[in-house]
């Protein structure tokens, strides 16, 4: 997706020192505990599904007659 990423910032001044390393560590730890709950799942044989995949179909098109559905 071209033009769809953060571009270099408009102001390139030197970043000030981070005075909140504790906050970052705390939130990272909370995220780790939350995501870690998924370890209870039996994922043996389960492959990643990065996105929903549409079934193979004919030529790409719109999703049917939307207006007609009304």
């Amino acid at each position: 997706m071209a033009a769809a990423r953060p571009y270099p910032p408009s102001a390139r001044s030197a970043p000030p020192p981070d005075d909140r390393p504790g906050e970052v560590a705390e939130l990272a730890a909370r995220l780790g505990r939350l995501i870690g709950r998924l370890r209870v799942l039996d994922l043996d044989g389960v492959t990643p599904a990065p996105v929903f995949r549409a079934p193979a179909g004919p030529a790409p098109t719109t999703p049917g007659p939307l207006d007609a559905a009304l």
Partner: protein, 477 residues
């Protein structure tokens, strides 16, 4: 009735009948903008001169017999994540304070081809990483939040400073502000609408979709947006027809199978919200639908899966910029991005694999029902500055966690979900219900949503903004 108060359906009919010109309509919307923007701050940028020029062109085309369809001459807003050549895309962030795109997003191109007229770029929570949009006010109540991250888009439509707008939805960012502002919002099936030229938050969860005042209008806009785009790697080669079990045709709701979750979606929900949604369920039953309780699988893993996907993907999107200029991000976004960079690859892949389990289970679930109905969010618009929600069982959660809880399953699975208004609470704040269907079954959502909408008399119009107090007035004057 002023032109800005019209739905797309009625404005398009008037334009086609030559009883309303696009110039009149755009002037009316721009006048409305002037009247309410100081109070609401829905827009980052208003392109009035360009809009009037486009309106004159549309008027001439229609006069000359070139009518492009139902969006020809219809004014709209774009969340400020969407690129339009010559108009800044700021993502409501200092990081992109002066970023000028040199090309159009695919959806902007499609809407231009359909003859829609851009009014301006609407505010987002910074880079869409939040559900508040603090710059923008809720038009229904001065002390309530707009919701987000597509808060500016929902407020512009609710206030009458656009007839529709586009938003993005990574964890509920179209549906939540639509619900909080009394509008209709659609998160389409993943891959149905191109995201080319739209700033990402999390690639595997991001969706583009419309916000409008009615379900019919939402369907009209989706028709113009949907379609394969090779420029978006996730763009779907969708089946030509929606694989809906629910038969098409003017038969009311007879034959429709409605699933009502017996857990999760009604856990920790405000009683007024629950009552309004359950009244809507009863309405569907009275109209002939077969209503059955359903037990949703794996719901206890939704929050972990959403964060396990979103946090590292967002941190990856912003990795370079965050390293170069972290101080340009707002403190809440910076904290999320920095913390998200600590999520391990193993945890990320575990979230991906859990998504596989959830999606497979949901596909099986939709073998037995055509549509799920649930609250869009457990509470109406929170008060500005409110940080947490405390539930009767003693659990306290942040406002953001409360909002994302009911909307994220449709992002994780990629299934289409439509939010529509189903009432108001005792403070007059809108309540939204959410319809969820199988992939590419947007037509089912539109049919059911239209039936619900036709039973109500309090939807389809803009908010009565002048009655609200200007929350930003003191800082503006």
């Amino acid at each position: 009735m002023q032109p800005f108060e019209l739905t797309i359906e009625h404005a398009a009919a008037a334009i086609a009948a030559r009883t309303l010109s696009p110039v009149e309509l755009v002037d009316s919307v721009l006048d409305r903008c002037d009247a309410v923007e100081r109070r609401l701050h829905a827009y980052v940028t208003v392109v009035a001169d360009r809009a009037r020029q486009d309106a004159r062109r549309a008027e001439k085309e229609i006069r000359d017999g070139l009518h492009r369809g139902p969006l020809h001459g219809i004014p709209y807003g774009l969340k400020d994540l969407f690129d339009v050549s010559g108009i800044p895309t700021t993502a409501s962030s200092r990081v992109w304070a002066d970023r000028m795109p040199d090309g159009d997003s695919t959806v902007a191109t499609r809407l231009a081809a359909a003859g829609a007229i851009l009014i301006g770029k609407t505010h987002t929570h910074e880079f869409a990483y939040g559900l508040l949009t603090p710059q923008t006010a809720n038009p229904w109540h001065a002390d309530a939040i707009a919701g987000g991250s597509s808060g500016g888009s929902a407020v512009a439509v609710a206030a009458g400073s656009a007839l529709f707008a586009l938003g993005t939805d990574t964890g509920g960012s179209i549906r939540i502000p639509a619900a909080l502002n009394g509008m209709v919002g659609l998160k389409p099936t993943y891959g149905l609408v191109s995201r080319h030229g739209v700033a990402p938050l999390a690639w595997s969860l991001d969706h583009v979709g419309p916000i409008a005042r009615t379900v019919r209008d939402t369907a009209t806009v989706l028709s113009a947006l949907a379609g394969h785009d090779p420029a978006d790697p996730a763009s779907a080669a969708a089946p030509a027809h929606a694989p809906a079990a629910y038969p098409a045709g003017p038969r009311g709701l007879r034959g429709l199978r409605v699933g009502v979750p017996d857990t999760y979606y009604f856990d920790r929900v405000d009683p007024q919200v629950e009552a309004a949604v359950r009244e809507t369920v009863e309405l569907l039953r009275e109209l002939g639908a077969a209503v059955t309780p359903v037990k949703l699988p794996l719901v206890e893993h939704m929050e972990a899966t959403q964060w396990g996907l979103m946090a590292p993907e967002a941190s990856a999107v912003h990795e370079e910029t965050l390293r170069a200029a972290p101080h340009l991000y707002g403190p809440d976004i910076r904290l999320l991005l920095e913390a998200g960079s600590h999520v391990s690859a193993l945890d990320y892949l575990r979230a991906q694999r859990t998504r596989s389990l959830i999606s497979d289970a949901w596909i099986r679930l939709f073998g037995g029902v055509d549509v799920l109905i649930a609250p869009t969010s457990p509470i109406t618009a929170a008060r500005r500055g409110q940080e947490t929600v405390r539930w009767p069982d003693g659990v306290t959660e942040t406002v953001t966690d409360a909002y994302v809880r009911l909307s994220s399953p449709a992002n994780i699975t990629g299934f289409p979900a439509l939010s529509l208004p189903v009432g108001t609470d005792s403070a007059g704040l809108p309540i939204g219900a959410q319809l969820i269907a199988a992939p590419f079954s947007e037509s089912v959502l539109f049919r059911v949503g239209t039936v619900i909408e036709e039973q109500r008399t309090d939807t389809g119009g803009p908010a009565d903004v002048p009655r609200t107090v200007a929350i930003h007035e003191s800082s503006d004057s």
